[in-house]
């Protein structure tokens, strides 16, 4: 009787293990997020535009994504979000929200589908050249770097003319402005 019980137990364990194996294989692989600091990621993913019409910006974001060959997956105009995928490999979510008066901020986040799970894109050049440059061309507006320190304050954009965050500095000297380090120098492209 006891022997029978132990056999039963062994069988139960074996079956549980088998089931567990099935379970594990079905679980989706977790997203691989960037190891870069949050502030750096936010800066490369965010641009401001001198325009108050949030819906127009959202529409332009959608048009830009379609022009780049993305297929639209989800749109939520009240929340200002759009998610699109290109060739089943690259997916991009953009969030459009107003900031202060007369300004709209766009934040984009891209993920690449890899065998090891969806991996976040953390290359500033990708966001600049593959998203914000075409977007600012479509909007006929310059994409402005958003100053990270005072995210909540209105007017925290770094104007491409002055280039530097320290706007208090006298701009009398004729030296060309230097963009913040870590970002492509070609930011602020407009027509």
């Amino acid at each position: 009787m006891k022997r029978c019980n132990s056999w039963g137990l062994a069988l139960a364990v074996a079956v549980t293990l088998l089931l567990a194996a099935c379970q594990a294989s079905r679980q989706p692989t977790p997203n691989v997020l960037s190891s870069k600091p949050a502030a750096e990621l936010r800066a490369m993913q965010t641009r401001g535009f001198e325009i108050a019409d949030e819906t127009k910006v959202l529409r332009t974001v959608i048009a830009t994504l379609q022009d780049l060959g993305y297929a639209i997956d989800k749109v939520e105009p009240p929340a200002g979000t759009v998610t699109a995928t290109k060739l089943s490999v690259l997916s991009l979510t953009a969030v459009v929200h107003p900031r202060g008066t007369g300004q709209t901020v766009v934040r984009a986040n891209a993920m690449v589908r890899m065998a090891s799970g969806n991996t976040q894109v953390d290359d500033p050049a990708f966001y600049q050249r593959r998203f914000f440059e075409p977007l600012s061309k479509a909007l006929f507006l310059s994409a402005l770097q958003v100053e990270d320190a005072d995210e909540d304050q209105a007017g925290g954009f770094i104007m491409p003319e002055t280039g530097a965050a320290q706007s208090a500095q006298p701009s009398a000297d004729e030296t060309p402005p230097k963009p913040p380090t870590g970002y492509p120098p070609s930011f602020g492209h407009g027509p």
Binding site: A71, A84, V112
Partner: protein, 208 residues
């Protein structure tokens, strides 16, 4: 070269050609498989950022594609156009997966068979030739496809017109279960869609 390969895989052309010169198709299919496996191998050793940079690049012929995908209608009724587009897509067998009239967006998809007699015959041909030379060859052919479409409407300022842009793309699954995505740039498919849409809204469409 890649474009050419992708292009010759369009269902109609492939099967028509297969009837005429099966040998040529067999060679083309072999070249395709080699090119595709090469692409896959390249993708494998790239970092996510490199893949994003490459995949995220605008399509080669962005301006041409835009012209193929876009029509203008003399109306100000954007929601009506969107409704007509939804009905047109349903007529074509698509399932609507997302719609938002506030920003003029419509997304839909459908599953279709991708098997073509020509391609399968070519693969069998290669297998037999390989067998003759004592080489093992595993035949692969397209099995089914998932077609997705994004329709975006945009009112054109001060012109009394609404622009409609439809982009079709598809993910083809082969007999080994591998998925190959591609943008559809065949003008005929777009002409058919816009012809149906025009008759649904009783309006004439204008190219860009």
């Amino acid at each position: 070269m890649l474009r050419e390969i992708f292009h010759c895989e369009a269902p109609i052309r492939r099967s028509a050609e297969a009837e005429r010169v099966p040998g040529r198709v067999a060679i083309k299919a072999a070249v395709t498989s080699v090119a595709l496996s090469g692409l896959l191998a390249l993708t494998a050793c790239q970092s996510p950022n490199e893949i994003a940079m490459k995949v995220g690049a605008p399509p080669d012929s962005a301006a041409k594609l835009r012209a193929v995908e876009t029509r203008r209608y003399d109306t100000l009724d954007e929601p009506a156009l969107l409704t007509a587009a939804a009905q047109t897509l349903q007529d074509l067998g698509f399932t609507i997966s997302e719609s938002s009239s506030e920003v003029g967006v419509l997304a839909a998809s459908k599953q279709r068979d991708a098997e073509e007699a020509g391609q399968i015959a070519a693969q069998v041909g290669i297998t037999l030739v390989a067998l003759l030379f004592g080489v093992a060859y595993h035949p692969v052919w397209d099995k089914d496809q998932n077609i997705t479409v994004s329709v975006v409407t945009t009112p054109i300022e001060n012109s009394g017109q609404v622009e409609v842009r439809a982009s079709f793309d598809r993910q083809i699954r082969d007999s080994d279960g591998r998925v190959r995505p591609e943008l559809i740039d065949d003008p005929e498919i777009y002409q058919q869609f816009f012809a149906k849409l025009s008759s649904a809204v009783l309006l004439e469409d204008h190219p860009l």
